[in-house]
């Protein structure tokens, strides 16, 4: 048996190893070092009107949600109706962070599918995404009245998550 003919087999076995580990890990579940830390400050232009800026400080005193999204992100489209649902419930305002996106594309998506956001801001070069440790799009943060991150979801928000985790959390945070 010549060595070079075994290489494909070895490569494949390594791949299987990775797949086996990957199978046992939920791609949506990520621990974040930012939990219970203050949400990083930023100042970004608003998507609808780039002349106006938004800062997280303006949300002080209320529980709010930061949702990282982009028009190129396919999983966000899956998440979209759930976010609309969330916004209709008026549980908490949602701020959309449009991550590494073209403004036209993002505006078109919101025009087409409806906007769940109180307002959306544009993080065109992904600077703020780095501060927030964005792994992938979409991501969702629940931030309390004092600007502390209380929960982070990587990957699309589901109806189940909304009912079991996010609504109860918002209720609890609103009481305190």
């Amino acid at each position: 048996m010549k060595a070079k003919f075994i290489i494909p087999l070895i490569l494949f076995l390594v791949l299987v190893g990775f797949l086996a580990v990957g199978l046992n890990r939920d791609p949506h579940e990520v621990p974040s070092p930012l939990i219970n830390k203050p949400a990083p400050a930023f100042e970004l232009p608003q998507l609808a009107d780039p002349k106006q800026v938004f800062t997280p400080a303006s949300m002080k005193g209320q529980v709010w949600i930061l949702n990282v999204w982009a028009s190129w992100c396919v999983a966000c489209r899956e998440e979209h109706p759930i976010l609309i649902e969330l916004s209709k419930s008026h549980a908490a305002p949602i701020i959309g962070l449009d991550y590494k996106d073209k403004r036209d594309d993002a505006m078109a998506l919101l025009a087409n599918q409806g906007s769940p956001y109180l307002l959306a801001v544009s993080d065109a070069n992904g600077r703020v995404g780095i501060d927030y440790g964005v792994y992938g799009v979409p991501e969702t943060y629940v931030i309390d009245k004092n600007g502390i991150i209380r929960f982070k979801q990587i990957g699309p928000v589901t109806m189940e998550l909304l009912n079991q985790k996010i609504y109860p959390l918002i209720n609890e945070l609103n009481k305190s």
Partner: protein, 639 residues
């Protein structure tokens, strides 16, 4: 009762497939003729049983039998009949059944069209296919039974995802699967040859038309999916580098490499080990694609509900099939003798180079697709890889490939004089350079990227035309030759489409009141208003737009915004005025305050060339498989 018959047929199919997979292989190994002749009848019985099972599932959909869980989950009494049929493969269980059914269809075709092959070879090929069928049937029966009952029966079904209620999507999965699954034939031939130790030109000649056939289906399936995304997602994009799209594209790239490598093995007896490895890889990647889509290890819009048992089963199956094949390869492949010698400037070299680029491209797409998973498994965090990675990696790999495509067909086997080739090709080079300068000027905006796109496309076209003229003078060219030229022309047409759309598309997002006009790409589009239109299982808001040029109305467009009763998400039905040189694409957004609407308008130059190019590629493949040397065999067969 009827669904139980379907289930029963599946169980029987499993038992017979086990016989088909085991006995002929042992028979061929030990020289027991009475065992190996079982291959053909067993394959036929499996096919009949699976066809029965598949038809019963289809009937359950047609008859709205909501006591079948799978039907209740994916259909609805209001669903139009054609989509009820499409819904058979609208979910996990049904699409797996379709996968297996198509696998056994290929198997039966092989068993019918292989009369001139020796019995040992046929037994091995059908045996290998039988083992794959067995494994997948076990998977269906243990984790994904489509005939599971729901008691008490549902009043009405949950209905098919509105995104999938579209004619394009009815045909997309069967096409794609035919391609995916079709690579199993090349795979089985490769394994059978490794087992028998007879890797020769005859083996390559046999595998070639089968591989081409699978490749044609895969090409059409991918094109259909892309076209669907273009008009259905209301988005105007035609490719998203989504994991599931990639899962079909990676086998396509490797399959394309395999087609070319098989040519070398057939004509020159070279690259044997490499060709076998490609045949194994192409099918392994199809299986891997199935694993990625079905197990939910990656996030994608296409991902179905995830059940960990399913993921583990497919992974073990994948490991067994691919692992044992590669082990067999490691043991047997070194025994192959090298093919004929060839010089650095021969056609062999060019095909090999092309192969390398295709495989590297497949590898980088695979890496990008799996990267999030690898990083996660190594506990390095979670990431997602988007179009920026794929575009910046893929385009530079494709560029040299297109350059090679212009030269390769001119070279001859074994050795050719590069100087004569260069002398013949100067005209093609000139055409390419003129196109690279002229077309961007005509389109009004010069960018290096688009200029390069046109240069490469016209290089391939001009080189092809020159060669066709040359061949035609020397007598009628073979169908293989014509097929190759058409397929290569398809690539060039595709590149032109991609370049044009990438560089010169115009899009406008506007707020429109009735009577207002927006202009895009030299056309004026006037908004006439929106009306209410009921559909069979949805209500639509239907817009009316006049498409005008120089003040004359050329067409009336009706984009829709549909609310399906079964879903909360509004669907966008774009209206497209298609043309050879441009599409005008209008999609209706949200209703804004005081009867104004958000409207998105695109001018997409040459966008249909993208799919036109794919059709040409498939047509080229079709012409190539009707080549005389394969027909001779068919005629013998009929006689």
């Amino acid at each position: 009762m009827i669904p139980e018959f379907g289930h029963y047929a599946l169980i029987l199919a499993f038992c017979v497939a086990l016989i088909q997979g085991v006995l002929p292989l042992i028979g061929a190994h030990q020289g027991r003729r009475e065992w190996l002749v079982l291959a053909r009848p067993a394959a036929q019985v499996v096919f009949l049983l699976l066809a029965t099972s598949f038809l019963i599932l289809a009937w359950s959909f047609y008859a709205n039998d909501f006591s079948v869980l799978y039907v209740a989950e994916h259909s609805n009494s209001q669903l139009p009949v054609i989509y009820r049929f499409g819904a058979v493969w609208g979910g996990h269980e049904g699409s797996l059944l379709l996968w297996i059914f198509l696998l056994s269809t290929w198997t039966v075709l092989v068993s019918q069209l292989s009369k001139s092959l020796d019995d040992f070879m046929v037994a091995r090929v059908i045996g290998v296919l039988g083992l794959i069928t067995t494994g997948l049937l076990l998977f269906v029966l243990t984790t994904s039974n489509p005939f599971e009952r729901l008691f008490p029966a549902a009043q009405d079904g949950r209905s098919l995802n509105p995104l999938l209620q579209d004619p394009g999507l009815v045909f997309h999965p069967p096409m794609l699967y035919m391609g995916y699954v079709g690579f199993s034939v090349a795979f089985a031939f490769a394994i059978a040859s490794l087992l028998s130790g007879r890797l020769d030109a005859a083996w390559a000649r046999w595998s070639r038309p089968w591989t081409t056939a699978a490749w044609i289906f895969l090409t059409l399936g991918i094109a259909l999916g892309s076209w669907w995304a273009y008009y259905e997602l209301g988005w105007g994009g035609w490719w998203f580098w989504d994991p599931v799209e990639n899962a079909s594209f990676i086998p396509w790239l490797v399959g394309t490499a395999l087609l070319h490598s098989l040519a070398v093995t057939e004509k020159r007896g070279g690259f044997k080990s490499w060709t076998v490895l490609l045949a194994i890889t192409a099918f392994s990647l199809s299986l891997l694609g199935t694993f990625l889509v079905r197990s939910g290890v990656l996030t994608s819009v296409h991902a179905f509900a995830t059940d960990p048992r399913r993921g583990i089963f497919i992974l073990i199956f994948l490991a067994l099939v691919v692992g044992s094949s590669l082990l067999l390869y490691a043991i047997r492949a070194p025994k192959n003798t090298m093919g004929g010698k060839f010089s650095l400037s021969s056609r062999e070299t060019f095909i090999l180079l092309g192969n390398v680029f295709l495989v590297v491209a497949a590898g980088s797409v695979l890496l990008g697709t799996l990267y999030p998973l690898l990083i996660d498994a190594l506990h390095l965090g979670k990431i997602s890889v988007g179009p920026p990675y794929f575009n910046s990696v893929f385009v530079p790999i494709m560029t040299p490939l297109l350059v090679l495509m212009g030269v390769g067909p001119w070279t001859s086997w074994k050795d050719s004089n590069l100087m004569t080739v260069v002398k013949r090709l100067w005209l093609a080079g000139l055409v390419a350079i003129v196109a690279a300068i002229l077309i961007p000027k005509v389109m009004g905006d010069f960018t290096w990227l688009s200029s390069m796109g046109f240069m490469l496309a016209f290089w391939v076209i001009a080189s092809g035309c020159l060669q066709i003229v040359r061949q035609a003078k020397a007598g009628l060219p073979t169908r293989s030759f014509i097929g190759m030229q058409i397929a290569h022309l398809g690539i060039a047409i595709f590149v032109i489409g991609v370049t044009m759309v990438g560089a010169y598309q115009e899009e406008k997002d506007v707020r429109m009141l009735s009577g207002e006009t927006v202009s895009v790409g030299g056309y004026q589009i006037q908004f006439q208003g929106v009306s209410d239109e009921p559909g069979p299982n949805y209500r639509a808001m239907r817009g009316t737009f006049s498409l005008m040029r120089h003040g004359k109305v050329e067409a009336v467009l009706h984009p829709e915004k549909r609310n399906y009763f079964s879903s909360t998400m509004p669907m966008t039905e774009a209206a497209i005025n298609a043309g050879l040189t441009r599409d005008i694409y209008v999609s209706l957004g949200e209703q804004l305050e005081d009867s104004a609407w958000a409207v998105r308008v695109y001018y997409k130059p040459f966008v249909d060339w993208i799919w036109g190019g794919c059709l040409l590629m498939a047509l080229g493949g079709l012409i190539a498989i009707t080549d005389k040397r394969y027909r001779v065999k068919l005629r013998k067969l009929v006689a």
